[in-house]
């Protein structure tokens, strides 16, 4: 009979978890919670003797110094008790490690139907709390009803004998796996089945699919296997392979683009080929350091003679929007499998993040699924646990607040790996499957997780149906698999490797089988979390922490032994063949047989109407504003704006030093608290070579023109790596597009044509700037449909679309990290230079936003001159002439001068009349224009001439000095002090908004 163990901290010890819950409950909901004590519960669904239970209690689960525990309910004073546990089938990581420990200590094995489950009990004190308050804390703070269930007990409900009761969330599916045959007598029937089953087949694809299954030769072939009409397994496979996620139909689509100001129309055929692939392949011809792009799970660049680096970026928006913590941890742990599945497999060396969310203090009338404050907290914690527990440093990230992200938040995650250039004398970037190779699935087991994404989330839950859709990434299981696969790789055992992400086995096996041109999968061999999954579910399940690997039969014994040593499960689930067919059987019965070339066959190209309305025609105008009387106050206010101010509380939750490679940290300067332009790591510890990485986002510019949004975003990411000492010749890029739906619909998406034109223009800028800068796109992803439907005050539903958003990431190799520079000014008396031209470009700036305007003059990049300047700057850094270097980004010169001063903890005397500019004849324009291509550099006086000689004929000027005084003093064009503020006050204002958070 099952037993329930309760564990809690001794009463005299501070309960940090409880205190955090108490703080959030009062902060989020304005409740009067006085205290919270947390109790961990372990439920043993196993026959264990009293002695064994006592041994487990004392030897493993109770720390005699800090904890007390009991198999009876612990007596803790409360006004309300909340119990929270996982729903059946949700990954319970602590439960499975508890099983490991118990089996270790007792030297036993749990029986297949035995398990250990974890849950929590929270004891709330707070005289005024009502049932509804307590229930709200459970529902909105502690539990998420997609993956967890909870119970609320008042003092009166509480039975001191039974406590919360013994709850066993065991999955029981009394269901015999069955293959269903799908009728295809008409397009209409197939389409309706697609709707019922949530296949999301594109209507245009349906005739092609039917035609295939009705072909005489196909039918004849299928009869020999005992099948005729397509099975659910086959249609699930086809719908996965054809999904926009896997196939990028939007970027490969046909756009009819019309400029409404000229009525000129042009056909844009395939954005991926014309704006991403073609420029990158051209650059690869010029730059031999570009090793492998556009086909594998991530791109590969040369690091040094012995190593390559591997980089990719992903988004995990919808799941994070539903369940912030689970979605975000699954996102980061998931993107880490991409480098693991690139080439013969690489070691993870770094991660980055980007979050776009609604205002943290949002108090409007729309009701998003999760309030931005709670959503952001969950996302931050998910990426924290995913990255930290993987042992991968997270030294760079960014956050952008905007109401457009209330509909759907964006969670960008970027992963960087390192791989030896040769594995046992063979090129590490090359891999293939061959007939006869074993198909091996490594890592986690398969459940109903993530099947059909969102459709599963709306299913109702019975006590024993598994919670689908939202997954909880498990960095511990994946870390074991990572270590194992690297050892297997180095012994030359891996012929091919790829990860199981979207589409699960359907994608990983389907794609890897293209190399050998066929495979046979025996689905009954796939290890399951619980019985009762249908064949199609096993095939498309997105259960996490799994890799698909091709192993030569002669290597299997060795591979299996290594797998055992690392406590990782590896299972042969089939073989690769050259039959030209993807065949799937279950207990010997064929349940799928599809020609390998069918997926490559001519599916109709998606088409879009794109209509561009230039900003002038949208009646965007420059606002009528004068210079402020109190310019100091204005600067302080802008430093405190959410998209400018300090977010140290997020950065310090992320381990940015594990692996011992940290060179430039996310926070730098005298106080170690001002943001660095980029991160630098030394991934090969016995080399001084480094890797600089950065990211940028400027979605607000999309309000005026996505071409310039895209151009300025790329330029910012490039400038960021240049600023720390990156090599302009060795910069690689990663593009992550997040766009609202661009398919026009008169009712549901009336501005679809405009959004389609915005996407085309953003891609044109991507093509133009990457070509001009010589930046290859090592990797990239697109996530369309970032729209949300939110309930409003009157119960109506409102559609909220995110700003068209591009996150651009850059990487650059640095030959000697000891020449890197940071952004903080170093010494009084140093000269302050501004490089690059300041123009009248306040459109969509932080400054206009502060006054509630958008404006018209969006910042425009001039790539040619900019790149010349960057080359000169990087020579100056290489020659160690630069004491500090910082790009001028969001907020403009005023904000970034303040940051350089804060970094050094020193004052500055600045004269705006010296700033290189054209058509910028007001103090406000010089201080807040966001013209791209600019830097602030401080230089020791003795280097003045050699520094300036680097910039002949390039826009540069000494605009002042670092002072020994405490103030940032800025003289305006009229010659008088317009700003005079102690640097400590600037920093105070910049830190205040989120300063209380840890």
């Amino acid at each position: 009979m099952p037993s329930r163990l309760e564990i809690t901290l001794k009463p005299d010890l501070f309960d940090a978890e409880g205190a955090a819950i108490c703080r959030k409950a009062n902060d989020y909901f304005g409740l009067g919670v006085e205290s919270v004590r947390t109790v961990s519960i372990l439920t043993f669904d196993s026959e264990l003797t009293a002695d064994r239970l006592e041994a487990i209690r004392t030897e493993i689960f109770t720390n005699p110094v800090t904890q007390v525990s009991s198999y009876e309910p612990l007596v803790i004073d409360f006004d309300w008790v909340l119990w929270v546990g996982y729903r059946p089938g949700v990954r319970d990581n602590p439960g499975s490690t508890a099983e490991e420990a118990v089996q270790d200590l007792l030297g036993i094995r749990l029986k297949p139907d035995e398990a250990i489950y974890t849950s929590k009990r929270y004891c709330l004190k707070g005289g005024n709390l009502s049932f509804d308050d307590a229930d709200r804390i459970a529902r909105e703070l502690l539990a998420n009803d997609i993956i967890q269930e909870w119970r609320v007990f008042s003092k009166d409900d509480w039975d001191t004998k039974t406590g919360v009761g013994v709850i066993i969330p065991k999955v029981r599916l009394d269901h015999k796996p069955t293959v269903t045959v799908i009728p295809i007598d008409s397009d209409k029937t197939l389409m309706s089945v697609s709707k019922e089953r949530g296949l999301a087949l594109n209507p245009n694809d349906v005739p092609t699919i039917r035609a295939y299954f009705l072909r005489e030769d196909v039918l004849a072939q299928r009869r020999t296997l005992g099948i005729s009409d397509p099975t659910d397994v086959e249609l699930e496979y086809i719908s996965q392979a054809r999904s926009d996620h896997c196939n990028h139909n939007t970027f490969k689509g046909l756009f009819h683009y019309t400029d409404l100001s000229t009525q000129e129309t042009q056909v844009v055929d395939n954005l991926f080929e014309t704006c991403i692939e073609a420029p990158t392949l051209a650059i690869q011809k010029q730059k031999p350091w570009v090793i492998s792009v556009l086909w594998d799970n991530a791109g590969i660049g040369r690091f040094n003679d012995d190593y390559y680096y591997v980089i990719t970026g992903e988004t995990h928006n919808s799941p994070s929007n539903m369940e912030a913590y689970g979605g975000a941890i699954t996102g980061i742990v998931g993107v880490y499998r991409d480098p693991m599945g690139t080439g013969r497999g690489s070691k993870l060396v770094m991660g980055m993040y980007g979050y776009c969310v609604g205002p943290r203090d949002y108090q409007g009338e729309l009701r998003p699924h999760l309030h931005p404050k709670r959503l952001l907290d969950g996302v931050i914690e998910g990426v924290r646990d995913g990255g930290n527990k993987s042992g991968i440093p997270t030294p760079y990230g960014q956050v952008w607040f905007h109401e457009g992200y209330l509909g759907k938040c964006l969670v960008f995650v970027t992963a960087i790996g390192l791989i030896p250039s040769q594995i046992k004398g063979e090129p590490a970037e090359e891999k293939r499957t061959s007939p006869g190779d074993l198909i091996v699935m490594c890592g986690g087991r398969v459940g109903k997780d993530g099947i059909h994404g969102v459709t599963a989330a709306s299913e109702s839950f019975s006590p024993h149906t598994p919670a689908g859709h939202v997954q909880i990434g498990d960095p511990y299981t994946q870390k074991k698999m990572h270590d194992f696969l690297l050892e297997a790789r180095d012994q030359g055992l891996i012929a091919f490797i790829t990860d199981n992400g979207g589409g699960g086995l359907s994608s990983s096996v389907g794609e890897s089988a293209r190399f050998s041109n066929g495979c046979v999968v025996e689905l009954e061999k796939v290890p399951l979390k619980y019985e009762g999954l249908d064949q199609w579910e096993i095939w498309v399940s997105e259960s996490q922490e799994r890799m698909t690997v091709a192993i030569k039969p002669e290597d299997w014994a060795h591979f299996e032994a290594l797998s055992k040593k690392h406590a990782v499960e590896s299972t042969v689930i089939g073989r690769y063949t050259d039959s030209g067919r993807l065949n799937i059987t279950y207990d010997g019965e064929t349940c799928a047989s599809v020609d390998m070339d069918f997926m490559a066959s001519q599916f109709p190209q998606w088409t879009f109407e794109a209509e561009w309305t230039p900003p002038e025609m949208r009646e965007l105008l420059e606002p009528v504003l004068t210079d402020p009387d109190d310019a100091s106050r204005l600067l302080l206010d802008i430093l405190a704006r959410p998209n400018i101010c300090s977010k140290e509380w997020i950065i310090r939750q992320y381990d940015h030093e594990v692996q011992g490679t940290s060179v430039i940290k996310p926070l730098v300067g005298k106080g170690r608290d001002v943001n660095s332009d980029a991160a630098v790591i030394r991934p090969v510890l016995d080399s001084v070579k480094g890797l600089a990485t950065s990211q940028a986002l400027l979605p607000t510019y999309s309000q005026i023109d996505t071409y310039h949004m895209s151009a300025c975003t790329i330029d910012e990411a490039v400038r960021r790596v240049i600023a720390v000492g990156g090599d302009p010749e060795r910069i690689g890029g990663v593009d992550n597009f997040c766009w609202p739906n661009i398919q026009y619909d008169p009712i549901d998406n009336p501005d679809g044509k405009y959004k389609a034109a915005q996407l085309v223009r953003a891609n044109w800028a991507l093509r133009d700037v990457c070509t001009a800068y010589g930046v290859p796109l090592l990797s990239g992803k697109d996530s369309m449909y970032v729209d949300g439907y939110l309930k409003g005050r009157h119960g109506e539903t409102q559609k909220v679309s995110a700003l068209p958003t591009l996150q651009f990431s850059c990487s650059s190799v640095i030959s000697d990290v000891t020449r890197c520079v940071t952004m903080d000014c170093k010494f009084a008396g140093d000269l302050v230079y501004v490089l690059g031209e300041t123009r009248n470009e306040l459109g969509a700036s932080e400054y206009y936003e502060h006054f509630g305007h958008v404006g018209l003059n969006v910042p425009e990049l001039r790539p040619g001159p900019s790149m010349k300047l960057y080359g000169a700057l990087s020579r100056a850094i290489e020659e160690e002439l630069v004491a500090s270097c910082h790009g001028i980004y969001r907020g403009g010169l005023g904000v970034h001068l303040a940051l350089v001063a804060m970094g050094g903890g020193l004052g500055m005397d600045i004269d705006l009349s010296m700033v290189p500019r054209s058509d910028a004849e007001h103090d406000r324009i010089i201080l807040y224009s966001e013209s791209p291509g600019r830097f602030i550099v401080t230089v020791a006086p003795e280097h003045r001439s050699s520094f300036e000689s680097c910039f002949d004929a390039l826009p540069h000027a000494c605009v002042g000095t670092v002072s020994s005084g405490p103030d940032l003093v800025i003289n305006g064009l009229k010659g008088k002090h317009i700003i005079d503020i102690p640097v400590s006050e600037l920093k105070g204002a910049w830190k205040r908004p989120f300063g209380g958070l840890i």
Binding site: V65, D104, K479, D490, A567, R652, K670
Partner: protein, 288 residues
Amino acid sequence: MCSANPKSEIRNPKSQGDVHVLVLTGYGLNCDFETAYAFELAGAVSSRVHINSLISGEHYLKDYDILVFDGGFSWGDDHGAGVIEAVRFGSSLGGALLEFIDEGKLVLGICNGFQALVNLGLLPGFDGDYKRREVALTFNDCGNFRDDWVTLQGNPDTPCVFTKGATKIELPIRHGEGKFHASPEVITRLVDNGQVVLQYALPDGGAAQGEFPYNPNGSVHDIAGICDSTGRVFGLMPHPEAFNHWTNHPDWTRMKEAMKRRGQTTHPGLTAGVQILKNGVDYIKNKH
């Protein structure tokens, strides 16, 4: 060199004269590469060995001079940091571990490894009892995982062989469960025996006296590291291996610029982090 090189080869630890360091790997440990590397800089021969390779007898503790429980999230830290690692190690290698210590060899626990050592009872090891749990590392008072550099004050009167001459040093901390806790009696006893090796301090070296963020986790008596009564078993929350190169230091660009202006060339010798490991390596060398 055993660099960050992802190759996981284990060199044969038989050559005489060398100091052989065993760095544990597997089950979510994640500081093994840089710990092995930093020990090589300290003059040792490092091997990264999977816990299961020790249990299976593929490798033997007795072949090594220094055993390192390195940092990470062993078993995901799901039931208290280092708890399950201690169960696995104690239940299958407890005897070999005690012999290892009896032979006068060294055991070092860093961060998650320190947590494992206290859960094994190897620390504080009062009266040579290496099985009694008397101190604990629990959740930070700040309620969150924290990455920061801290100033540490070394104890001149400690028997700890790793901190010879260490006075004021700076090292990174990265943990969510680093709050040192023990009863007042135990604390007094640790202090009296000189077993308190490192304490969190203010930037000027003065006592942090619990002040956040100088004492980043609320540790009682600002304790960041302790040793056993022999000084040969040492555990600490900060990460010496993560200060393996002068560019790891948060102020390195500022220090470099300052030295340049004084006409000095910037290449400090061994970092404070590697020096701690080197003290251990030298102790074994002198014993040989």
